[in-house]
């Protein structure tokens, strides 16, 4: 007969952690959670701060901004302004999970369920992570990046490397591909080569036509822009086209770009990822409790933490700091489960495809095939909107008053849903800035275009970013704003033309 494990007090031991891990793994199997093998590491508070400083990665190249991050965290932590996260989990294979040694036994179980099973299965299952990251290679790549950058520092000096890194970091959010690039490119190349061949053959046949003098009109045709199509991945453009960069500098640009790309899915799935992990730690803890593997005091402690995690202060609260992704994600997943099992007439109208389906399968489908934007657009139910009392507020600079445009009623659900979905669309969070043209015949000025939406201006920082871009490009950089009506205004130029 299986021996029951029941911790007596809140002290944890590795043995006990292993036992619980096994129990949780059984529950996870029941719910078909597919995970990478986990590597669970117990770390101290200081190590946790180290991990924080390098955006959670176990290995990262050295940079002063990480030092700044570390100092900030250290200060806040030492003064008691903030607590540390209970865990950090890394999208790698094996999936690295850091547990803080200060956690109590109940916390460690919660964290195991949350990170080693929740996040882990999300990393393995979600399409964006499949598409953009390779969990098997990331640690190796970070090792390579760290080595490469420290070699560069030895060879070219810390300052030279730092300058490039600073410039790249400023463009990091605009250094990701939103669509697959390489297969398209190779196809294009193939086609280009094919046309080349065709043309060659044609020229052999029509040799006689060569003798006819060319018309002069042709040269008057406007010069083609470069790049022919606007490029939204600024770092990619720099890496491939900046004329003055040395090989090692290009490699550094590439490293920053690759890492930015690695984090791209995480930025797009904050709500889903946290919601999914929270949903699973909640479900798993309740299963453990039902199996009598944890007792009431543990459950009370767990619920206390869980409630803290999913607390959403109302907008008027002094602690209000935006929508809590844990709350939103957890509410949506929980409600999906409810819709599958106990649908109301309202749900039947809103979600005809998923009422009375197997909730495990439905949730799995939702986890695998969406990102925050589409997930909210698809699954935010009227009940969640009511529970969270969501409302839409329109803020138009031209008007003196803010206006409530929708509240949680029949007329508003759809509107709130689509507006909230847009709010999580990264292209709405990051301004749409693209490389428009390079003055190839002139002074090689690089022109960026900011395509404005909703008349929103760029922040003052743009000036500084342009300076960084200038360092990489080596020739003047111009930023133009294209308004929705199509008019083009020069916004920034560096170096400034002295009149």
């Amino acid at each position: 007969m299986k021996k029951k494990v029941m911790p007596k007090n809140s002290e944890w031991t590795i043995e006990l952690l292993k036992k619980y891990e096994r129990e949780i793994a059984q529950i996870a199997e029941k719910f078909n959670l597919d995970t990478y093998r986990a590597q669970i590491e117990i770390i101290t508070a200081e190590q946790m701060m180290d991990a924080y400083a390098s955006t959670g990665m176990p290995i990262y190249y050295h940079h002063w901004s990480h030092g700044k991050q570390f100092l900030t965290i250290e200060k806040n932590y030492k003064r008691g302004h903030m607590g540390l996260a209970y865990e950090i989990v890394i999208n790698s294979n094996p999936c690295i999970v850091y547990l803080l040694e200060e956690n109590t036994m109940a916390m460690q179980i919660l964290v195991l369920a949350h990170a080693a099973f929740g996040h882990n299965s999300f990393f393995k299952g979600n399409y964006l992570f499949h598409h953009w990251t390779s969990a098997d290679a990331i640690i190796d790549y970070l090792v390579f990046a760290k080595k490469y950058i420290s070699q560069c520092e030895e060879r070219y000096g810390i300052d030279a490397v730092e300058e490039i890194l600073d410039a790249c970091h400023a463009l990091m959010n605009h250094g990701v591909d939103r669509y697959r690039r390489s297969p398209q490119l190779s196809l294009q190349e193939e086609k280009a080569r094919q046309t080349e061949r065709e043309e060659f053959l044609q020229s052999q046949i029509n040799a006689i036509w060569k003798t006819i003098p060319k018309s002069k009109k042709k040269s008057k045709e406007p010069e083609k822009r470069f790049p022919t199509d606007p490029e939204e991945n600024l770092l990619y453009f720099i890496e491939k086209n900046a004329p003055l960069l040395e090989t090692w500098q290009r490699e550094v640009v590439r490293i920053v770009r690759k890492i930015a790309q690695y984090f791209y899915p995480q930025r797009q799935t904050k709500v889903m990822n946290e919601g999914w992990a929270t949903f699973w730690h909640y479900t798993i803890m309740n299963e453990l409790f039902e199996k009598k593997l944890i007792n009431e005091p543990f459950m009370v402690e767990f619920l206390h933490h869980h409630t803290n995690v999913i607390y959403q202060p109302p907008f008027s609260h002094p602690h209000y700091n935006g929508l809590n992704p844990y709350t939103l994600g957890f509410s949506i997943f929980r409600d999906l489960q409810r819709i599958c099992e106990e649908p109301t007439p309202e749900d039947k109208r809103w979600f005809p495809d998923i009422v009375n389906t197997n909730w495990v399968k439905t949730l799995d489908f939702a986890m695998r095939n969406f990102k925050d934007e589409s997930f909210i657009a698809q699954f935010l139910s009227p009940k969640v909107i009511r529970d969270l009392k969501l409302f839409a507020l329109a803020d138009d600079e031209q008007k003196n008053e803010l206006e409530i445009s929708a509240i949680h009623n029949d007329a508003g659900y759809q509107y709130i849903r689509s507006t909230l979905a847009k709010q999580y669309d990264l292209s709405n969070i990051d301004p749409n800035i693209q490389v428009y043209n390079v003055d190839r015949r002139g002074d090689r000025t690089l022109t960026l275009r900011y395509y404005q939406s909703s008349q929103r201006p760029l922040s003052e920082n743009a000036k500084e970013v342009i300076k960084h871009l200038y360092k990489l490009w080596g020739f003047p950089v111009k930023l133009e704003t294209v308004s929705e009506e199509g008019s083009v205004i020069l916004t920034n130029i560096h170096p400034e033309i002295s009149s």
Partner: protein
């Protein structure tokens, strides 16, 4: 099956490098904060770390993002009583707040502050003093030497014979010599065996036998050990940097030295001590105070006990000389002297001070610094010390008139050494 790893004891201080990078990058700002700290707080706790504050705007990392303005629609939670169409007045504060975060979010948001450690503080502190040059030219001057092993030689004293090496040589020599002879012996013996003893062969047999005898003799005569085999341990002398230092603090405690003057003297000693501490593993301190007679005292007594009376400086210098001869031989110790006085001295004593310094002290010490605190006018001591200064390069003197002068004076004292290097090059030309 997952792996559990207890990392708690491993890889600490991962961010140390990043932290250094941060300090390096903002050195100018940090330095400024450090020099402010020096002027603001008492030197007695200068060895503690320091809180550094840097304006946030200097360390910002810019990105492209939206500024305030245009049309926006946001979803907020926790609706209490709004219905569609409600209009809310835009409060002027809200606009202001969004437009410029810096202006009214409070100073706290505007400054980035953090703590630096003692070492970092001292590094920055002395970095300003521009001492590294001195460290190379003066401080690491070495007197002591040590013997270190340096392989083997073929000459030496019998005491240094290396037995193993010598025998190894002997064996190989014997093997080498014997080999050829043994082969020859074998050949000869084989030949001898082949010859049947008859009339014809008598002659050749006897020659063979003779030859065999010769070879055997030669074999026997190979010496077991030969002078040629001998190897001796070789040792060479190598200069050894002395890692220990002694610092003499000499202070006038006569009636004319009041509390303020003593305080200045103390601060000067502390700074010098801190500086030396960065360069040596161990520093011993000797406190000598004097009025008409000199006495070696513990630190507490040195600074805080009250004395009165006249002043005979030479008594202290004599004591220092004696202590050096008895306890701190110059070959083993880096000796530093620091003297603080208000310049008063019994006039007839001053020439004597000069003599002791020039003949008995200066040749042994690395450096001797004299500060004259709030002297009313140049005194006799100052004049004779000028003579000492001209004759020895490692002697320095400075007047101090105010607490705030100490730091620049220390800087001066040490930067004085710099011209010594250009001088040398001039000579070469």
């Amino acid at each position: 099956m997952p792996r559990f790893i207890d990392r708690r004891s491993q890889s600490r201080h991962k961010s140390a490098v990043n932290r250094q990078r941060f300090l390096r990058r903002f050195k100018a700002q940090v330095k400024k904060a450090v020099s402010n700290a020096i002027s603001n707080r008492s030197i007695s706790d200068i060895e503690n770390g320091e809180k550094i504050t840097i304006p946030t705007k200097d360390i910002r990392e810019p990105h492209f993002h939206y500024g305030y303005g245009g049309k926006q629609e946001i979803i907020l939670p926790g609706n209490q009583h709004f219905i569609v169409g409600d209009k809310i007045k835009r409060s002027p504060i809200q606009v202001d707040k969004n437009k410029s975060n810096a202006s009214n979010e409070g100073e706290a948001e505007d400054a980035f502050d953090f703590q630096i450690s003692t070492e970092e503080f001292l590094d920055l502190f002395f970095d300003d003093l521009e001492l590294p040059n001195l460290t190379k030219t003066q401080i690491l001057k070495t007197n002591a030497q040590k013997l270190i092993r340096a392989g083997f030689t073929i000459q030496g004293t019998p005491a240094n014979i290396n037995i193993i090496r010598s025998f190894r040589g002997a064996i190989s020599r014997r093997l080498a010599h014997r080999g050829a002879l043994k082969r020859r012996l074998n050949d000869l013996e084989m030949k001898l065996k082949k010859l049947t003893p008859n009339e014809e062969n008598t002659f050749s047999i006897s020659t063979l036998k003779k030859e065999i005898k010769q070879v055997k003799n030669r074999l026997k005569n190979i010496p077991f050990i030969d002078p040629f085999d001998l190897r001796y341990n070789n040792r060479v002398r190598q200069p050894r940097p002395t890692a220990q230092a002694v610092m003499f603090c000499i202070m006038d405690v006569s009636g004319s030295m009041d509390e303020t003057k003593k305080d200045i003297a103390k601060r000067f000693f502390i700074l010098l001590y801190l500086f030396l501490k960065r360069n040596y593993e161990t520093i011993e301190l000797v406190f000598i105070r004097h009025h008409t007679t000199a006495k070696e005292v513990p630190e507490q007594e040195f600074f805080y006990s009250k004395e009165t009376g006249g002043t005979v400086v030479s008594s202290a210098l004599e004591l220092m000389r004696d202590i050096i001869t008895h306890r701190y031989p110059a070959s083993d110790w880096n000796i530093y002297g620091a003297q603080a006085s208000d310049g008063d001295n019994w006039n007839n004593d001053s020439p004597r001070c000069r003599d002791i310094l020039m003949h008995d002290i200066m040749p042994h010490v690395q450096y001797f610094a004299y500060v004259e605190i709030m002297a009313r006018q140049p005194q006799s001591l100052w004049e004779v010390y000028q003579i000492v200064k001209e004759s020895s390069k490692n002697f320095a003197m400075q007047p101090i008139n105010h607490v705030r002068d100490i730091y620049p004076v220390l800087k001066n004292l040490f930067s004085r050494q710099h011209p010594a290097i250009p001088l040398a090059t001039e000579n070469l030309q």
